[in-house]
Symmetry: C2
Subunit: 245 residues, 2 copies
DNA sequence: GCGATCTGAAGTGTTGACACTTTTACGGAA
DNA sequence: TTCCGTAAAAGTGTCAACACTTCAGATCGC
């Protein structure tokens, strides 16, 4: 667990709680995992966590069950639970499902977008274009996040929004974290503009298509990099084999 | 909990278990809920369940956390957990997400369908047509289930399949259980035939569209009935108001 | 008779302890 | 040195008990 032995970022000593420890711990642990403080494959030691958070193992275990169901960790009987490690295949699967969900969000939003939401999206779009022009990734990233959040929330389907968020978080478990978020700012923005156009036109089919494609394109960009990485690695391996033999 | 005080349908005394009680209980409880043995709104009494299954409350609570995350139950602090009760709005949301997922399944299947899967689907289709012609609902239902399962599994996306199944189960929590499953056999089969055609043609776009529409149509059929039901009820209420006043 | 308050029962939230499994470290034999 | 077997250590799975909250019924005052 990176560092931090008792950091009170997760204050659960504070209140005459009305919310159970298991819930608080679930959020805390999810944050630890999604933020990358714990790496994929790393083990969640119940006793250690209990000590760190100053609680007993019961609530810890309950929290872990919830995380397991959401796909953040994987439990092995009598051996412990581990931060889920995504294979390339699973990443592709997750992206495809995410694309379908985001496409639905676009469709629903196109059917019911208010002038306020459209204005909000256009504002974020402009800000992102500015950031992209300046190659200011630190500014771009949160805007991009807010843009997607606005669309998903704007769809009016809370079930969809919850699912979508879980999938996005799960994708953060992939080793190449930076890649998951990154990818050509300019290209991405061109896609964003099309998405907004479809919503402004109130064309559900078009909106679904553009939203779907946006995620699908991100998937392709990521997989392309991963594949070339794998190729390089395999080449290096061959090199070593030759040198070693 | 309907009846049943100690029925050993859920035998967990049987084995020198290598699988934790919490997992066994999770499946058992999910079965109890989805099968309708426990009704929406009903409370899951931890002590009672512990006694019934012959275990302590710890594993019961862990199982419940998992069910909570999957959306089968709802926990209220210090008051207990209750079988989730779906509103009409939530049913619509679930159907929309399910439609998106099933559309994706159709698309993926169209891209990779083997002759074996196609033969399997066509076999199920014929059997369903026969059952529909005979108005044999008892035969039709499991075939219909198998048909959808085959498509989702055939998509090759395990993440998608798992999600889809959860959503289907969650829809079973809706009060009008029979309606969720029912709806014109003939109409439904016409849609099935189109779906298979799109898969045979290996046309991803068409497949996605037909699969999406199939679920979407089921949604519309259900909501139409629910709305007319609601209307009737409200009319009766008016009647009573008049009679009462 | 009706409502407010009190009291016990029921139930959830949490804890610490015990049993069994897995891992690791140690020591001896080949 | 290396391999294997053994025993301690670490860790998970499960349980029973305690603290606090909520609920239901009885009692008391009006």
């Amino acid at each position: 667990m990176a560092s931090a032995s008792q950091d009170s970022v997760f204050s659960l000593t504070d209140t005459g709680r009305s919310v159970p420890l298991s819930k608080v711990l679930c959020d805390a642990l999810e944050a630890v995992i999604v933020s990358g403080q714990m790496r994929p494959g790393e083990r969640l030691n119940e006793q250690q966590l209990a000590q760190r958070f100053g609680v007993s193992r019961g609530p810890i275990r309950e929290a872990i069950r919830a995380l397991e169901g959401a796909g953040f960790v994987e439990a092995v009987t009598n051996r412990g639970v581990f931060v889920r490690q995504l294979t390339v295949v699973e990443v592709r699967e997750l992206y495809d499902v995410r694309a379908a969900l985001f496409g639905l969000a676009g469709r629903l939003l196109a059917e019911r977008a208010t002038p306020e939401i459209i204005a909000q999206l256009e504002g974020l779009l402009s800000a992102m274009e500015l950031a992209a022009a300046n190659r200011d990734f630190d500014a771009y990233y949160p805007l991009n996040l807010a843009f997607h959040e606005a669309i998903v929330d704007g769809s009016g389907n809370a079930t969809l929004a919850a699912q979508y968020r879980t999938f996005v978080k799960r994708l953060n478990l992939f080793r190449a974290r930076s890649l998951v978020q990154g990818g050509g700012l300019a290209v991405s923005n061109r896609e964003h503009r099309q998405m907004v156009s479809a919503i402004v036109a109130r064309d559900p089919g078009w909106a679904q298509e553009t939203h779907w494609q946006h995620v699908s394109a991100a998937k392709d960009r990521l997989l392309k990099v991963v594949r070339s990485e794998a190729e390089q690695a395999s080449n290096q391996e061959d090199q070593q084999q030759i040198q070693g033999g």
